[in-house]
């Protein structure tokens, strides 16, 4: 961490906060224009997501994957890479994790660990492929990871539709072996131990990025590749390795979801978890530890919106609009600064106005 003036630190908090506020505002206008009441929707979200212990735990459960995909994006970003491929890496992790979970009988804890490790390796390899293409052919990672997303999602779809298909009705596999399933804490919500694993992963990744030689080289590569080369860093290897780490985190997310929530591989099980990660990371300002908060916040939105949809039949899709708006506003800090100036100007006008009135009163006989 660098020592910066208070003003710039404050800005680091204010910009994401204002971005969120603006996103909520614009989203409210959209909700309004579709004929719903934004106030009741937002109120419904909060009650739905945190109204009682059960919904709160469900929110944390929804946050788990979001924290990890956000972490995945942030790791690559630290190395100056834009990994839009968490979605595909998550699918690859889920697919290979499921294969181990379905067909490799192992004792309990070892089985679970193996599933997670294999998923991390699969997600990592899938992302490293994009890194390799960048290093070898100068193919931009945004393009390649998007392509690889489609391939991974369809690969999963093929498996559950044909070779792994377990039921006539639904494209899904058998239930994983019992030893590979991570049980929930209670039947009331989906809350399960993977939430804590995700928090541990955030901390591990934070330590890797900020307190190891590998992380140092990664950050140097991300900020000035030429200085890295001059300083003896194998920049190409760092690009591939950073992508691999980023993908491994997404792969873990995939396996957690399979092991604790779905208990089996399902066609199209990810509802855009990977892309939501971009918003989670953006709201955390590209930093690693704040991802925990932004991930939980998006968990609130998601879980809350599902509740709202169940009760009032307002489609929960507007959450995706909200995510997109957050990215837009965070990505455009100048817009936020202009908005903050505007607000400040407004406040000044108001105080000037009231000040004037006070003066007038004073001069009045």
């Amino acid at each position: 961490m660098t020592e910066r003036p208070l003003a710039s630190r404050l800005k680091n908090v204010l910009i994401p906060f204002t971005a969120l506020l603006l996103a909520l505002l614009v989203c409210a206008i959209l909700i309004r224009s579709f004929g719903y009441s934004p106030l009741s929707v937002y109120k419904g979200i909060i009650i739905g997501a945190a109204g009682n212990m059960r919904s709160l735990l469900q929110t944390l459960s929804e946050s788990t994957v979001l924290i990890l995909t956000g972490l995945s994006f942030a790791v690559a970003f630290k190395a100056g890479l834009i990994n839009i491929g968490a979605e595909g890496q998550l699918y690859m992790g889920a697919v290979f994790g499921s294969l181990v979970g379905l067909y490799l009988p192992l004792p309990g804890i070892i089985h679970k660990a193996t599933v997670i490790l294999v998923a991390a390796a699969a997600g990592g390899a899938w992302a490293a492929l994009a890194g390799y293409l960048k290093v070898k052919f100068n193919a931009h990672e945004v393009i390649t990871t998007i392509m690889l997303n489609t391939i991974a999602a369809n690969f999963c779809s093929y498996l559950v539709n044909y070779p792994l298909r377990a039921s006539e009705a639904i494209a899904q596999s058998d239930r994983l072996l019992e030893t590979a399933i991570i049980p929930r804490f209670s039947a009331q919500s989906q809350f399960n131990p993977t939430f804590f694993l995700a928090l541990i992963l955030v901390i591990i990744v934070y330590i890797i990025v900020h307190h190891t030689v590998f992380g140092y080289e990664m950050r140097v590569t991300g900020r000035n590749r030429n200085a890295g080369l001059a300083g003896g860093i194998n920049v190409n290897r760092m690009i591939i390795a950073s992508m691999a780490l980023s993908g491994a985190v997404a792969g873990c997310a995939g396996s957690f979801h399979i092991m604790a929530i779905n208990t089996r591989l399902i066609d199209g099980f990810s509802t855009g978890f990977g892309f939501a990660g971009v918003a989670v990371s953006a709201l955390a300002g590209g930093n690693i530890l704040p991802i925990i908060f932004s991930g939980i916040l998006f968990g609130v939105f998601k879980n809350g919106a599902l509740v709202v949809q169940r009760i009032s039949r307002i489609p929960s899709d507007f959450i995706q609009i909200l995510q997109a708006l957050v990215i837009i506003f965070v990505a455009a800090p100048m817009m936020i600064l202009a908005f903050m100036d505007f607000v400040r100007g407004g406040i000044r006008k108001i105080t000037n106005f009231t000040g004037l009135r006070k003066n007038r009163r004073r001069t009045a006989p």
Partner: protein
Amino acid sequence: MIEIRGLCKAFGVIQALKDVNLRINQASVRVLLGENGAGKSTLMKVLYGMYAPDQGELFFDGRNTVLRNSHQAIDLGIGMVHQHFMLVEEFSGYENVVLGFEPKKSGQLDRGRMISEVNRLKHESGIDIDLSRRTGAMTVGERQKVEILKLLHRKSDILILDEPTAVLTPNETHDLFAMIRILKDQGKGVVLITHKLHEALEIADEITVLRDGVVVSDGIDPEGKSREDLAKMMVGRDVALYSRKPSPKVGEPLFVCEDITTESSGDCALKSIHFSVHEGEILGIAGVDGNGQRELVEAIAGLRETAVRRVFVQNQPVPAGTPDILKSGIAFVFEDRNFNGLIENMSVNENAILGYHRESSLKRGFLLSQKKTRERAKRLIKEYQVRTPSDQTSVGDLSGGNQQKILIARALGAGPSIAVISQPTRGVDIGAMEYIHESIQLFRDLGNAILLISADLDEVKSLSDRILIIHEGEIVVEGKPTELSDTEIGLYMTGSHPD
């Protein structure tokens, strides 16, 4: 004629200019001299209408005038060439010259008149340049000529040139000065901002020295003044500029380059460069920028592909590639600190370990110890007098001189026996320059070998124990700095061989 009286300008709590008085006369060259941050550019920006002064008056031909913006300044005949050129790269030279003041025929650009008008200006001012080419394809020197023609086209009487020589080769500087003299003879007033002392002495009719926002001396006649006199005014104390200190003891050859040859790929090809640097010796390589200096350093480091690369330290071949070459005891200061020297938005301490970050002395277990990293940075900051609020300050917030000191500290402080140092004081204040020169000499006096590459001839001559001159990728002559005259060196640098 312009006169400024009692000018004050503050940015927040920083008083950039304090009670400045200045007169700019027609048909005269006024040099504004000062360290970075002395207020030169601020003063000129006030004059050009870009900043509103807090206090003070501006008299234009005796009339009190308030400038609201630079358009007004242009209308009054004030023109400015900014340090970073304001040209549209996709346009031709002609188009850039007339931009904003185009000759028109029925609402469209009148190309015929544009070309004849600009050619007439070219002829009058003696500026020789082919303007039909795309500006983006021009050299820096040519672009500057386009900028100056632009001012002439706008009929500017006062020309402000902000550090015009910073990016020029010696020959281009020479051309520029010739141009300035012609303009002066035509009655133009020229204000030239610089921190290069010999240039001030060469071109100025009058010199004004600014220090910390205050005019410390005004109307200095360059006649009979030395660089040391000016430096003293700029810095406020005696400065030992370019003082020669020969090596106490030159030992055995330590760093031997038998042959470096590269193939050209759009840049300068090196033709079997060979030299050896001895213990306790500074070997200087002088030459006009772009004659293979950059390529040579990159080839030594192994950052560039070479056809032949036979480099030895104590008869051991030097590995290519930075991690290994740094370990073999050769440290580098590359020529462009922003390109590959520093990571601007990382802290001083993280920058101070780059290249040496794998050393076990910085580790705690398998972690990179923040404590040890900071301790090392603090030691370097202290030893090399880096002026920074803290070791956690972002490097981008430091002045160029202090950034450069970090590079020197990082390289020399890592305990190498050989240092390859390229352009050690480019864009650096006099104070920092003096200190960097001392550090380099001190490092040599300990018995280490230094290969010094610089486009600043004075620097090479005063620091080096032996000089090589490079021209178009070839070493053309070797000699002692005391044996070669400036004229000889100048001729060798431009490729002609004096007899």
